[in-house]
């Protein structure tokens, strides 16, 4: 299989014996022109991969913090097309792997083939569509992979063994494991349902495993270090953006938070 920025990252992480840090932010929050410098700050702090959230009007898998981020991004006029431009802007200065993270409908409207072509051209490395089940994903996977992009799917604590196999089969780059039932959002503790899911998934696939949902603090990172190939932090980052949107120190805050997480891994 062809090496991609994503596969390259996980090879490097494995050889360094390190757990990676995946940072989510909603592209266009608080405004499209701000996103490249926020990504750069996260990268300086030690983020290994960026999930660029494409805002969708009805984000059913997201908790209040990301919902508000999505609302701000939509209000600022962010569209899938403008997120691709943001990606191109990031790509001019950085080789950090970029994954689009969104819902199916904006992608359907754009067209699978057109998106795969344009995303590849702008420097995107993979896509994750929260509400696209593997059963419905055949044509999407085919067209997205044809452009050399990875297709990441979700695995959940409720997934049956048969479903986990399907998720592994349709995923490339890595598998995104949802640590608990529920929507995105910060939690006090890492869910007890995470470890059984990690074990089940490990038994099925050699793909790198990332764990997200509820992971928001350096102590969570420390607890998960070595247990998965990467952790995903989203709401905690979006909350920092929300609270410091008008502050000149937003980038500094994001960089410091990423560094805290990275140092705990």
């Amino acid at each position: 299989m062809k090496s991609t920025r994503i596969s390259g990252l996980f090879e490097r992480l494995r050889s360094e014996g390190r757990t990676g840090l995946i940072a989510y932010l909603t592209a266009g929050d608080p405004a499209p022109e701000r996103t490249p410098s926020l990504v750069a700050a996260l990268e300086r702090g030690g983020a290994d991969l960026i999930e660029l959230g494409v805002p969708f009007s009805d984000p059913i898998a997201d908790g209040p913090v990301i919902q508000r981020g999505v609302e701000r991004a939509l209000k600022a006029g962010t569209t899938l097309a403008s997120v691709l431009e943001i990606a191109a802007e990031i790509r001019r200065r950085s080789e950090i792997p970029l994954v689009l993270f969104t819902y199916l409908n904006p992608v359907l409207k754009y067209g699978f083939e057109a998106l795969a072509r344009d995303a590849a051209a702008k420097g995107i490395d993979g896509c994750l569509l929260t509400d696209l089940s593997v059963e419905e994903a055949g044509r999407y996977v085919e067209m997205t992979r044809a452009q050399g992009l990875d297709t990441v799917f979700l695995a959940a604590p409720t997934s049956t063994p048969e479903r986990l196999k399907l998720v592994a089969q349709y995923s490339s780059g890595f598998v995104y494991m949802v640590s608990r039932t529920g929507v995105t959002g910060e939690r006090e503790k890492v869910s007890s349902s995470a470890q059984p899911l990690i074990n089940s998934m490990r038994a099925i696939t050699n793909l790198p495993l990332a764990l997200g949902f509820g992971i928001s603090r350096p102590e969570h990172a420390a607890e998960l270090s070595g247990k998965v190939d990467a952790i995903v932090v989203g709401s905690a980052i979006v909350r920092i953006i929300e609270q410091n949107a008008d502050s000149p120190s937003l980038e500094t805050c994001l960089e410091a938070f990423a560094r805290e997480l990275r140092n705990a891994l």
């Binding site: 984000p59 908790g63 569209t79 199916l104 409908n105 696209l132 089940s133 419905e136 959940a156 949802v178």
Partner: protein, 406 residues
């Protein structure tokens, strides 16, 4: 002949399917399996039939609307009186079915969304009946429009949660119910109230409501010794419509007419007419006709009736539309209000604002349909809409303070 059955993944032609986060996939498979078993379980079906009769009040009458028919001077119009059911609308059919199913699956906590409040009231009612915990999500804008139903739900023991996201209407209530379900899926059954959502909901909801069409078909054959020429039903998600349409789908001579909310007019955001103003897309688990903008963001909708105020139409309707088996039109807020007044004054039946849309289309066509037989599915009664009727029919409200002699 049009066949209207989904494939084993819940597709009606290209529509329907299962578009939800992975967390919900296994629970949907569980509901699918439980429902498949219940469908062929005589005990389950017998209990449901008994509740439909002794508790909900089925069969509902098929009433010949003589004065309305004579006033319009054309078609003979029959009215399927779902408005006479317990809780005041057809919604109870589906709620009884799904509550029995939830009990069968061992789920004691029920969540639901509601727009007009009718589905919320029906859900709260069956939860009281079965001793289940009930949480109903309702947009704050709809809570304002349907205050009386909010109180009814609370009186029945339900916890009504106001939704303050987005447009604060049905769409946002469904999103919030789905977020609850994603979180509490182990203990909770999502009692979805329309022929929407991921498979098997559109199939299951349709089946529980198809008793409407089955009864109407038998009743019209008894009364007229023939099938009707046309059936009218309002379409929000489309549950009452698919309920009455489905048993008539193989009867090619029967025209099936779905009536959407034309709202204030044809501008995007001013209506909920998905077939004329939308294009295929995915919302809340299903692929169907959707009101959306050029970037695939779901549009805001408007209708005077909260129950029709939703951006996606049920997937089986999309399929019937594309097959040419059913026809979909829209009726404006104003036309629905006029129809409600005419039905009230000629027949003594005050319809729900949703159902008024179906009445309006039948009224429009009846004068030029001499010799034809129509059935209107009167999906709900108008009690819940008195505030909105009063707001919009101010001249009536002033009558009792007026000293004019009549």
């Amino acid at each position: 002949m049009t066949i209207s059955q989904p494939d084993d993944r819940g597709h009606f032609g290209p529509y329907g399917g299962r578009f939800v986060p992975e967390v919900l996939m296994a629970p949907l498979e569980e509901i699918e399996a439980a429902y498949a078993a219940a469908r062929c379980d005589e005990g389950f079906q017998a209990e449901l039939r008994d509740l439909m009769e002794s508790y909900a009040g089925r069969p509902t009458p098929l009433y010949y609307a003589k004065r309305l028919s004579e006033t319009l001077g054309g078609a003979r119009i029959y009215i399927k009186r779902e408005d006479l059911l317990h809780t005041g609308a057809h919604k109870i059919n589906n709620c009884l079915g799904q509550a029995l199913l939830a009990r069968r699956m061992g789920k004691r906590r029920i969540i639901a969304e509601t727009g007009a409040g009718q589905h919320g009231v029906a859900t709260a009612t069956v939860c009281a009946l079965f001793g289940m915990e009930c949480v109903v999500y309702m947009g704050e804008e709809d809570m304002r429009r349907q205050r009386l139903n909010v109180f009814r739900m609370r009186l029945l023991g339900a916890n009504v949660v106001g939704v303050t996201n987005g447009s604060r209407t049905l769409k946002d209530a469904i999103s919030e119910a789905m977020r609850d379900w994603v979180t509490n899926v182990e203990t909770t059954h999502y009692l979805l109230g329309s022929a929407l959502g991921a498979h098997p909901y559109p199939l299951m909801v349709r089946d529980f409501h198809s008793v409407i069409g089955t009864e109407a078909r038998r009743q019209i054959l008894e009364r007229e010794n023939r099938l009707p020429d046309a059936i009218f039903a309002c379409v929000g998600g489309g549950s009452n419509a698919i309920g009455i349409f489905h048993p008539f789908v193989p009867d090619e001579t029967v025209r099936l007419i779905g009536v959407e909310a034309g709202g204030r007019g044809p501008k995007l955001g001013d209506h909920a007419a998905r077939f004329s103003g939308g294009s295929p897309g995915v919302l809340h688990g299903a692929y169907s006709y959707l009101l959306q903008d050029d970037d695939g963001q779901v549009s805001l909708t408007h209708s005077i009736s909260a129950g029709l105020d939703y951006a996606l139409v049920g997937p089986e309707h999309a399929w019937l539309h594309d097959q040419g088996r059913a026809e979909y039109v829209s009726v404006t807020d104003k036309e629905a209000l006029e129809a409600a007044q005419l039905l009230s004054r000629t027949e003594g039946i005050i319809p729900a604002l949703e159902s008024s849309h179906a009445v309006a289309e039948a009224i429009r066509r009846a004068p030029s349909a001499k010799g034809e037989v129509y059935i209107i599915n009167l999906s709900g009664r108008g009690d819940k809409d008195m505030d909105i009727y009063r707001e919009n029919l101010k001249d009536l409200d002033e009558v009792d303070t007026d000293l004019r002699a009549f």
